[in-house]
Amino acid sequence: MTLLRAFLIRFVTTIVTLFGVAVIVFVVIRVVPGNPIAMMLPPGATDADIARLEEQYGFDKSIFEQFLIWLGGVMQGNFGTSISLRQPVSDLVLGRLPATLELSIVALFIAVAIGGALALTGTRYRDTKTEGAVDVTAGMALSIPDFLWGLILILLFGVLWPVFHISGRISPSLNIDFSTNFYLFEALVRLRFDVIADLIGHMFMPALALAIPLAAIIAQLLKQSLKETMHLDYVTLARTKGYGENYVITREALPNAVLPTLTLVGVQFTFLIGGTVIIERLFSYEGLGNMAIDAVINRDLPLIQGIVILFALLFTLVNLFVDMLYVILNPRLRHA
């Protein structure tokens, strides 16, 4: 009963949030002083041509009417047509989404691996110089944003010691036909190890740049939580049973220490996804964020609108997923 109630409240706030995002983007981009239609046409175009196109895209109506028309379209799954690329927005956006999703998820894995390892090391050697080193590393990693990490990585692994590709998603020379846009996933399923290696070679640096700040947060929060758990009685009891430090940390403390950090890591993961916008630009990675920046530069209103709404939806879904995971992992809630 309470669970259903919580779900309903959640659903309503999600709708309100998405609606708010749509309204704000709609209002913001329609105060653009330049005329996007005029920019699309060759210099010699007549006023009549402009008017015709404006009518076609609905720009001659009031903002309020435009919003209603757009909303009506969205209800039927129609997000309009891109002005600069002249294709349906939904096709364009869904075509790029897999690239961004793969990048974000690979980054998440890297962040959990690095952050978890740092947290466990710091806990294992707590109150020693090693823990101090973990603290300093995490503090430094956290104060530098993903954009700067990306540039530093380009210098390190693209120029100084060129082992990774600094731009693109896949080498054009591979010339392989994918049936979906989830290249990495598809390559994994088809066991094409050469393709996997090439994809990872492209994806590694942008993913690492996105992962470093999140890894630092995981290291800090999880270590804090682990250290608090290590003082609890059941951990002491496990020690008297003859278990060593490593077992006590990973088996007794870790499952309980993960829970309090989970929600915060979820929020931070949405920040990571937001970071793909500039990181994809930096590494010329063919994802949603890169397309978004092009759309803004080209004043492609329907496309901007579609991408922003998709990002907002993605963030909401991540938060929902984290909340569900919290319930699944917490025995107290699972049986409630």
């Binding site: 109150d127 009891l237 278990y243 499952p255 025995p331 107290r332």
Partner: protein, 289 residues
């Protein structure tokens, strides 16, 4: 006398230099119950922790010996010592609400160490856990094995912890204020249960408590600890008839249940406390702390 557990001149200090235990000696004889009494802050829990090797990191043993089953634990390498403790000793903790891992079911919390440390088979361990849960009078043990700690009451959890402590037939059990965190009505049942289990399994038991009334019910011998020092070690009967140390006498007078259940509480007189403190100071001078 030299017991199954024999602590000799154990000294424990804070790393900053403050002394917590001053040359403590005590013995727990084979199959006997030894009470360790003192007010809170006297350091009685630290003795148990020193034996089990779970002292907080800020504390360290700076002198003495801990003999368990003919072996000086403090002379063993760290890992050997941990395994020796795991195989021969067990702890009944103070607070049953925090001593069970909230993310694990009860069953594995009893059986895992039998499988991991003592190399039992899974089915043996599970059979043993069921048997013990029955022995500590838990209704429907099979269901409890599948439960999570938050689904059980404090008394139930303490019973489970007792069962878990006895699971591997340890030769020594340290009970660290096992009834303090419980309701008064549950306290008596748990106390009787521990006493029964001790007799049935013939285990040596070090019973740490601040409550002389509890000691009088379950112990064979006792030590009185004050300010990190054993001020009196005696057999129960002799202690309650003729306590020697002034602090012991004062402690007895302040315990209503034993000598005069209806009488008023007499606080430990200032003069006694200052006398004991003087004694402790002299001790410090003598041992150069």
């Amino acid at each position: 006398m030299s017991g199954f557990l024999s602590i000799r001149n154990l000294t424990v200090r804070l790393k900053s230099g403050v002394t917590i235990l001053r040359s403590v000696s005590l013995d727990v004889a084979q199959g006997q119950v030894h009470g360790l009494v003192g007010e809170s802050g006297a350091g009685k829990s630290m003795i148990g922790k020193a034996v089990l090797g779970t002292l907080p990191r800020a504390l360290q043993v700076t002198g003495g010996e801990i003999w368990l089953d003919g072996e000086n634990l403090l002379a063993l390498p760290h890992d050997t010592r941990r395994k020796r403790i795991g195989a021969t000793a067990a702890l009944i903790p103070q607070d049953p609400l925090t001593a069970l891992n909230p993310s694990k079911r009860i069953g594995p919390q009893i059986t895992r160490r039998l499988v991991d440390i003592l190399a039992w088979t899974r089915s043996d361990a599970e059979a043993r856990a069921l048997e013990l849960l029955g022995e500590v009078q838990i209704p429907d043990p099979a269901r409890v094995m599948r439960s999570y700690p938050h689904e059980l009451s404090g008394g139930m959890r303490q019973r489970i912890l007792i069962a878990s402590a006895f699971a591997a037939e340890p030769k020594l059990i340290i009970a660290d204020e096992p009834t303090t965190a419980l309701d008064v009505t549950v306290q008596k049942q748990i106390l009787r249960l521990i006493a029964d289990m001790q007799v049935r399994h013939g285990t040596s038991l070090l019973f740490v408590t601040h409550d002389l009334g509890v000691v009088s019910k379950v112990c064979d011998t006792l030590s009185v600890l004050y300010a990190g020092k054993v001020v009196e070690e005696a057999r129960m009967h002799r202690f309650f008839m003729r306590p020697i140390h002034p602090y012991s006498r004062a402690l007895l007078a302040a315990t209503p249940t034993y000598l005069d259940p209806t009488g008023s509480l007499t606080p430990v007189p200032e003069s006694v406390i200052s006398a004991v403190e003087e004694e402790v100071r002299l001790h410090d001078v003598r041992f150069g702390t």
